[in-house]
């Protein structure tokens, strides 16, 4: 599948599958080299003035995303697993203005070689959140009507299992 798909497995995990027309070694490097990650991390028109990655188990992640309106969204994280070139597991937390984590995510990315392409599966889920988290997300997200429509479509598409 070329675009992402949401599955209802586990506790509301978001699962996105992609096939990149690139060798696995290059895809893995694009995930672990901070100079490269800074070029693609975040939604369209976002930049990453700070992108520090210590890609080894226990290593720190520090990224400051800058939105098109100039707002800075700082995040930190820790690598749980680095298995070159097939698997990366990390936690990430968005920080509030005081630098406190608002919610924490656990993300697992796996890379499988298929011919000369790379099938990447990314799974992410909330492991902790605070009352601030929804407001933060609401601030970054477009309309609520649109969101509810998506959820309704999601619930409709996965009524059972």
């Amino acid at each position: 599948m070329a675009t992402g798909s949401i599955t209802p497995e586990e506790e509301h995990e978001l699962v996105l599958t992609r096939v990149f027309d690139a060798p696995r070694k290059l895809v893995f490097k694009a995930w672990t080299d901070p100079k490269i990650v800074a070029q693609w991390w975040g939604p369209h028109h976002f930049t990453n003035p700070v992108c520090e990655l210590d890609a080894r188990p226990g290593g720190a992640i520090r990224i400051h995303m800058r939105g098109p309106d100039g707002t800075i969204y700082p995040m930190t994280g820790t690598y749980q697993e680095i298995v070159e070139p097939e698997r990366i597991v990390f936690t990430s937390a968005a920080l509030d203005a005081a630098g406190n984590p608002m919610f924490e995510m656990l993300t697992t990315v796996t890379f499988a070689e298929q011919d000369r392409k790379t099938k990447q599966i990314l799974r992410t889920r909330v492991i902790k959140s605070t009352a601030e988290a929804p407001r933060y997300l609401a601030g970054m997200e477009a309309g609520w009507t649109q969101s509810l429509q998506r959820l309704t479509a999601y619930l409709g598409a996965h009524p059972k299992e």
Binding site: G4, R18, L26, A30, W40, K128, E141, R150, G156
Partner: protein
Amino acid sequence: MPLAADHLSTTLAALSDPTRRAILSRLAGGEATVTELAAPFAMSMPAVSRHLRVLEHAGLITRGREAQWRPCRIAAAPLKEVADWLAHYQRFWTESLDRLDEYLRDAQKEEKKYGHGKHHARRRA
């Protein structure tokens, strides 16, 4: 409605069950009684009531006071939180991965130009 510190997690836990998601999906189309909600499931009324209690506790549904019918209605606020979360992260990752895809294409073009490329397979137009 008072918000617990980890309200989102309560909502996500309530949504983690396929029967409860099916119940919410049905309620998205309008209010319904317990009997109506139980109809599509091979499940006892007490079992369905238990699911409804979990949904009610998470603030995902409200139940009417009208006599024994007590119709169930979907509640928007916690769903909005989850919808925001899903929409946010799906957008975040979809757009990030689009940009990663672009990077990978460009990087390989560069590599080819400077003669290190081994991949002569026809790329997608």
